[in-house]
Amino acid sequence: MLKQSKSMLLLLVCLIALAGCGKSNENSSASETDINSAQPSASASESEPPSSEAAASPKGQVEITFYYPVNVGGPLTKVIDGMAKTFMEKHPEIKVNPVYTGNYGDNTVKIQAGVQAKQPPDVAVMMSTELYSMLDTNAIVPLDDFIAKDPDINMMDFYPAFVEDTQSEGKTYSIPFQRSTIILYYNKEMFKAAGIDPEKPPATWDELVQDAKLLNKDGHNGLEIPGNDDSYWMLQMFARQNASDPKQNLMSSDGKKATFNTPENIEALQFWLDLSHKYKAMPEGVIDWATVPTDFIQGKTAMMVHTSGNLTNVRNNAKFDFGTAFPPARKQFGSPTGGGNLYIFKDTSAEKQAAAWEFVKYMTAPEQAALFSSSSGYVGVRKSAYDTEAMKKYTADFPQALVARDQLQYAFRELSTHNHGKVSTAITNQVQAALAGQIDAAGALKKAQEEADQALAPFNK
């Protein structure tokens, strides 16, 4: 009997120890907040765990959490954290906790996990293409009320190409923040060596082929266009350039229909394939997204078509004179926009949403847009950003950056639909299969269309 009670005792001890584990954590976090409230000066500069929310806002301060991804090289986290800091200096009644969440993919996963657990961030930067997924999971709030009540925001000042993908069925759901377009980068020294005028980059598909053939020598490629990751982005560019309708896109504006399989789109994809298979101006197969800028910087390719988000990277690392231009036109110029917008989330208090709106407004104001653009290479999201001193100086030193802005008149919405993951994967996979020579252009787009229709069927009931 004694033995039995001994073992019962052991059991009890184990349970207490376990409970103690849980308790001691609570205790330690509680004591942390005690320290924080005792020394407010120290706590202000340090990020606190969300659990200490109540203790950290002694004088009615509103605390909001801000998730943001960084998808390009460079110390951008510092820039964004710095912007949040100056915001708090101007608005002492609001405390922002900026949380760096990795790249766009990781960022979306973290936000979705938060949404599922009913603990979303208050405000976040997310891909513009996530709009319909966010609406279908009922995660975000429309911003029309904020915009209507707030005269400072001045939506007309934002570039229409960037505003296009913040809207669906008459409502605005986000504000443009870190945005890009596709541009053509070219190596001026290689142009000279090949006897091409370095101030006259190719402006049409025919000139592109001609120049790329001339440049494809001396151990470097004429041209590289990435084909993995989101290859639909590049296809969108070719498709718009080849479209007779100046408003043609790969999907309907309500995100319920995809239009991949059209004769013009097949021609567009065929041209992409011909660049390597027929004209031999580009390596065959699927070219990796990340190695293309490296190849360009190392002089392994004379031209590349890539995101304007790489401007700073190329500027800092290329040891030669380079130029930028609009990607060449067939029937018209064209490039989809890309990048992320600022969204405000549901499931929080009206107070927090109002604070989040203040923050969104601040982050996209002309001075901040200018600062962010000049330190990242992203395009300034609003017209007045280019009138600021900082931006004037930046573009005077680095006129290549203006190409991305000037192109905005030809820019349009990135592929964004309901069930976006499946639809974009369908087209991306088929483009890859075509690039790898497994299927022809017509077959690829037909298959992608079938898969997309299937993925979108539940939304067209």
Partner: protein, 296 residues
């Protein structure tokens, strides 16, 4: 009745007490999520149906019709066939060498084991560079053989091979450690007796070393097979499963289905299939096979 129970408790209570803490954590973080996955796999839950809808075995039937799932499953079998036997054989040979090498024994062991000390993400980045067209060592080697530039990771025919070679390099050193331990268990008398009787070195390996390390082989095979289903970190860095799913593996597809397609019902069904598969593989060790190969 009561007496029996108290007798049982007396005998086992202490043991249960010791096991309890880890059992609690296993329950919370392993068994509960597994059961929850089984439950979720019976429901349709995706972007079009945010409220779970009971569909019975509908998701499993859907899997059979999902050609990407079939392809990914097939890929995983190819990946297992490519990595498991080769890395086991290589591990065995390396262990023989590391066991016998007289000079620089420690150095040899470290050299063989070190790929395993590097995290998979770092390995993937190193090999990504080795495979980069124009620059990479292997890319150059491949283009020297085929006399044209080769994009090993960008071509559906070569991408799987490229990943298999990398995984063998990474895994073999790990399995070598098990073989090394196994070989040191074998009594030296056996080899001496064999040498006295004029048995050659090769015959000794075939007749003594291989049979007596069979339990190790079984253990390593189980680990290797389950690893070939679990190791997917490199896909994030190197291919994202592309081109056109040519290098996509089951676990990566499950991740994609959950976090990219938000199709939680289907993802749960695939998870259940995968758990069942891994359970079957690891039960090989615990039932039957294990006893048949011991030479005691």
């Amino acid at each position: 009745m009561n007496a029996i129970w108290s007798e049982k408790l007396k005998r086992n209570g202490f043991g249960w007490g010791l096991v309890l803490p880890s059992l609690l954590f296993l329950g919370m973080f392993t068994y509960y999520p597994m059961l929850k996955s089984v439950w979720l796999s019976l429901y349709e839950k995706n972007l079009a149906t945010p409220e779970p809808l009971f569909v019975g075995f509908g998701n499993y039937a859907g899997l059979l019709k999902d050609h990407v799932f079939m392809k990914v499953f097939n890929n995983n079998i190819v990946f297992a066939l490519g990595t498991v036997p080769a890395s086991i054989v290589l591990a065995f040979v390396m262990a023989l060498f590391a066991d016998k090498a007289l000079k620089g024994r420690a150095l040899v062991r470290i050299a063989f084991f070190y790929p395993n000390m590097i995290p998979m993400i770092a390995v993937a980045n190193i090999w990504l560079f080795l495979y980069t067209p124009h620059f990479g060592l292997f890319a150059r080697f491949a283009s020297w053989i085929s006399e044209q530039p080769v994009n090993l990771l960008g071509t559906p025919d070569t991408v799987m091979g490229a990943l298999i070679v990398m995984t063998i390099w990474k895994e073999a050193g790990y399995f070598m450690i098990f073989y090394l331990a196994g070989m040191q268990q074998i009594s030296k008398d056996l080899y001496e007796a064999a040498a006295v009787n004029g048995v050659g070195a090769m015959a000794a390996i075939r007749r003594i070393t291989i049979p007596l390390t069979m339990p190790t082989t079984l253990f390593v095979a189980v680990i290797a097979i389950t690893n070939s289903f679990k190791l997917v970190d490199h896909l994030w860095i190197m291919t994202k499963g592309g081109p056109n799913n040519a290098s996509n593996l089951l676990l990566y597809y499950i991740y994609d289905t959950t976090f990219n397609y938000y199709d939680q019902g289907m993802a749960a069904a695939m998870t259940v299939v995968m758990i069942a598969l891994l359970l079957i593989v690891s039960s090989m060790q615990f039932f039957g096979w294990d006893r048949k190969i011991h030479y005691e």
